[in-house]
Amino acid sequence: MRCLVTGGNVKVLGKAVHSLSRIGDELYLEPLEDGLSLRTVNSSRSAYACFLFAPLFFQQYQAAAPGQEALRCKILMKSFLAVFRSLATVERSVEKCCISLGGRSSRLVVQLHCRYGVRKTHNLSFQDCESLQAVFDPALCSNVLRAPARVLGEAVLPFPPALAEVTLGIGCGRRVILRSYQEEEEADSTVKAMVTEMSIGEEDFQQLQAQEGVAITFCLKEFRGLLSFAESANLSLSVHFDAPGRPAIFAVKDSLLDGHFVLATLSESDLHSPAPRSPELRRLAPPLQAHSTPHLDDFANDDIDSYMIAMETTVDSEGSRAVPSTSLSPGLRPPCSPGPYSEDNGAEASTQPGTPPPKKFRSLFFGSILAPAHSPPGPSPVLAEDSEGEG
């Protein structure tokens, strides 16, 4: 893999790395035919983020050397972040940035060509390829909000930096409400009795497709990460969500890149705390409950681990290579229920001679996502459905 980023795009790339660094400690770098993908997941697997930079984003882009298979790698977020640590400096002095993987050196080489002919070369050690994927599809979410990142950025500005979670909901008059979330025990104490609430009118949104009364609670830190990226790139941010407890998808997109953050949301029971709340949320609660009941069984925890597939991709079968694209857009996957799909893969993997233990890890992992997915009939047509996945 070899790609060359020039001018202002170096800063965009750096900014994306900064926002990914809010989530995970490891960065998965995967050159695909349709662009360079940067992904990460947090340690508790409750947040996943990916950016895809289209080939046109780069001055030059080559996913793999001719006749060779594209390599993918995992590196420490810290070390990649160090390359772009000071965005002000990057903007001021870096003229172009060349990233290459493979070739003779067993390092990920990031070369920055700076002002005055100064050249910085970082040879980063990486770990063997393991592709990171989350199965999600914004098209399946019944609720969608879309607004310029600036609008949402200004709305989260008043929240204290230490605030962990925020509740996003639709209040009466179809106003979008952002409220600081407090856990039950916290809310009980009189010390932390302050609740901050921001309300945004429908007219500030480019799209608002949600019922009055729906609400989700998610982590603010990760959200802020994507927001700051979207604000600097002057993009709109869309939020796709379902019932509480199901992951919410935050997306940005322009012609050269797209970014998706998938964040776990608190499940119903947590939201439904009897703690002192402002009237709106109490009003919000009943419809929420009604809405989400069917899903409670399969998505009871606030963890999206069950949606995450970390798959050993050194198994160089056709099947496994097809997976990266399906991860982002399950719609591209041939229509089949998850059951056979995984069994196929398991069988395929086991026939590979000399494949190392990761197979087990992989099948285990598939098992864990399959268990809940089997019971309701819902998810399987979903996987087959055509979607705007890449968007």
Binding site: L76, S93, Y116, G117, V118, K120, T121
Partner: protein
Amino acid sequence: MPLLTPQIQDENDYSLVASLDNVRNLSTILKAIHFREHATCFATKNGIKVTVENAKCVQANAFIQAGIFQEFIVQEESVTFRINLTIFLDCLSIFGSSPMPGTLTALRMCYQGYGYPLMLFLEEGGVVTVCKINTQEPEETLDFDFCSTNVINKIILQSEGLREAFSELDMTSEVLQITMSPDKPYFRLSTFGNAGSSHLDYPKDSDLMESFHCNQTQVNRYKISLLKPSTKALVLSCKVSIRTDNRGFLSLQYMIRNEDGQICFVEYYCCPDEEVPESES
């Protein structure tokens, strides 16, 4: 004015008397070498040299020449004492380290001789503070025997070009490797950290390069923890001269322009680390 009594004493009683209209012309330079608690001060009629050392491997010298002071009197041939630099700096900035624009803190510094405290009289807006700092037995300082005739390679760079490099040094690397060569890569700074290696190359025809005199390829490693403190001098300086001698000893000289446009110098010496293994490049 009982507080100011010492000033009324005959100046001949002091082995060192120095006055300065703007104390920051002294404190700024001293901050550039403040990486250890204690410093040794040597005063001659030419000025004051303040020396800080660490691990018998690195030495920093700040030179404040007599011309920087409005009054500078040394009675003996040389006056030497050791002082707690942290306290000295705290006293010098007793009216605040970033004063209001247009207000200057003036300093009068007196030292009576061996065994006496260093007296500081600081004045700002008519308020006078008197500080007495106990002096200590001077310790012998290292002689790096860095002689310009033995210098193999010498580069003068605009500090701007090194500032970022030093502030972003990968501190997980134990050493900073400096390559100076008449051929490519000319001047290279390398680190070898947990995450991998980094190289920073400066071409010899770069606009940052004020002068480039390299005679022979030299690759030397220096403990990064010993060199990192020189960043303090680097950020204050406008130019830096980087020299290595035939033993691989490193000399970094920083040219620092003070608020009145006068030039002062700060110098760092550092011993090289163990021999570079052949296999690594």
